[in-house]
């Protein structure tokens, strides 16, 4: 896509993703699950449900409710993270829930809860996008009725250049990070955030680049699901 020859300090081209691998169905006790390795990110998403709603007053008669928790293990970060949920984790839990819900056919599961648990075992830049990709595969693995997969990728700016898929080092030293999630077949933006500074031109360029990144992720998600169901892969475990 990108025509320029700019090479990033991590050796990637401006529009090059980190190495990504996704595997579906790795938690035996979950109804659906996936593990994604995305650069140094190592993230498990597990889905439970549709199941009974607790507490009762959260139940909705016309549709499911989605619960979502994004949680980092203390050993996932450079400096040990306190085990209790930070405000950052609470906010990311919310934006991920809102990013995945548009894909779920909520009215197929009235009076139930669908729980999505995301565990960051090892973190790198872009963990929320990686988590959404894993959660999407886990939802499909759980057999939840969906309109589309949700696929996520960030673009950003570092060293004056618009780049795809910002890693940890680029996030810290760079000028901007813009995570995006879309429903690729429906053309719908379901997560969008921006931290940093972009001109209007750069903003649009980054949005296009992130969208193209999402399309690549979509293929990897589909492969992960096909690998599970057609290779009849019975292996479980991280």
């Amino acid at each position: 896509m990108s025509k320029n020859n700019y090479i990033r300090t991590n050796g990637r081209a401006a529009d090059e993703l980190r190495k990504v691998s996704i595997k579906a169905g790795i938690i035996k006790n979950a109804d659906g699950s996936a593990i994604i390795e995305f650069g140094k990110n190592k993230i498990i998403a597990a889905v439970f449900g549709p199941k009974e709603v607790h507490p009762k007053h959260m139940m909705r008669n016309d549709q499911a409710i989605i619960k979502c928790r994004y949680h980092m293990m203390p050993f996932s970060t450079d400096t040990r993270k306190n085990p209790s949920l930070s405000r950052r984790e609470i906010e990311i839990s919310k934006v991920i829930r809102e990013a995945i819900q548009p894909a779920i056919i909520m009215e197929d599961y009235p009076r139930t809860a669908i729980e999505v648990y995301i565990e960051i075992l090892q973190s790198d830049g872009g963990s929320r996008c990686a988590a959404i990709n894993a959660a999407s595969v886990a939802l499909a693995d759980a057999g939840i009725n969906m309109r589309d997969l949700i696929t996520a990728c960030a673009a950003g700016k570092a060293d004056g250049k618009i780049i795809l898929d910002v890693d940890d080092v680029e996030d810290k030293t760079g000028e901007a990070d813009m995570p995006l999630s879309i429903l690729p077949n429906l053309g719908t933006i379901t997560l969008f955030q921006l931290d940093g500074c972009l001109s209007e031109e750069e903003f649009k360029q980054a949005l296009e680049m992130a969208t193209n990144g999402c399309k690549k992720l979509y293929e990897l998600q589909r492969n992960a699901l096909m690998n599970k169901y057609f290779n009849n892969n019975k292996n479980k475990g991280v």
Binding site: I90, E91, V95, E98, Q193, L194, C197
Partner: protein, 271 residues
């Protein structure tokens, strides 16, 4: 008092009214879809702060207070002052808010407000250092939501901008290796005034400045923050629905124009 939150529900007749009106690109309060409600900004409303502002957007009302105190820098940024930004949805502001630990909504509001300040480089943090790695000034930005009628993201953004624009900080001297705060104050070093604009989508319409009803029934929300130079410095999409790319591009255009209008209002107000 436990936090059993009542949920705001728009009944189906009201919902139909709103939708029918929007088909003619009109809102029930008479606004066009890209109109803001009346915005009023008043500064220096709190005596025990280094800067403060009261902002009303229609019936939404927030109050921001700045306090600048001695603090210690974070270990990984010994050469920068500290920003702590916190927004509270007070139980006085709505029948749908219960007292208790901050809700997910309050945390999102706080963090989006915080990032709007932090990522835009609004405050010149190196200027807040007293002794590198040892003593810095910490800028506490606390926001009280007094009455809630939608679009708190923008109300907080303007209150922060108005309170910081013209805020002061202490001067100091070092005496016997201790930091002594002096009575004299100087202006807080502000580098830019990022301004947020918030859109919601109802049906196929994009609305600016949603009121509480519109925000409750909308499918998706987008906040775009622009700075003095027309750059985009922060953004947050919310709600469990989505936008098309076409809608996105529209909002990008509008936010720049509206941001500029509102920025002028805040600067004028402060003179």
């Amino acid at each position: 008092m436990p936090a059993v939150k009542k949920i705001r529900i728009i009944d189906s007749m009201r919902r139909t009214d709103i939708e029918n009106s929007l088909k003619q690109s009109k809102r029930l309060d008479g606004r066009a879809i890209l109109d803001y409600r009346e915005i009023s900004i008043e500064t220096n409303v709190l005596q025990k702060t280094s800067g403060s502002a009261s902002v009303k957007i229609g019936d939404s009302e927030v109050l921001a207070g700045i306090k600048v105190e001695l603090g210690r820098p974070f270990p990984d940024t010994p050469d920068k002052g500290i920003i702590i930004c916190n927004a509270e949805l007070l139980p006085i502001c709505s029948a749908f808010i219960e007292p208790g630990p901050p809700s997910e909504d309050a945390i999102e509001l706080s963090r989006v407000s915080d990032r709007g300040i932090r990522e835009s480089g609004m405050i010149d943090l190196p200027q807040l250092v007293i002794r590198e790695g040892e003593d810095v000034f910490a800028v506490f930005i606390d926001i009280a939501v007094i009455n809630e009628d939608g679009n708190l993201f923008d109300a907080c953004s303007y209150a922060i901008a108005a309170a910081l624009h013209g805020a002061t900080m202490p001067t100091f001297k070092i005496e016997n290796d201790k930091v002594v705060i002096l009575e004299k104050v100087k202006p807080l070093p502000i580098l830019s005034l990022p301004i947020s604009t918030t859109f919601v989508k109802i049906g196929d319409k994009i609305l600016l400045d949603p009121n509480a009803e519109e925000q409750t029934m909308c499918e998706a929300r987008l906040t775009l923050v622009t700075d003095d130079k027309g750059n985009f410095v922060s953004a947050q999409k919310g709600k469990a629905g989505g936008f098309s790319f076409k809608e996105f591009n529209e909002m990008i255009e509008i936010s720049k124009k509206k941001g500029e209008e509102i920025r002028k209002k805040i600067i004028k107000n402060d003179k």
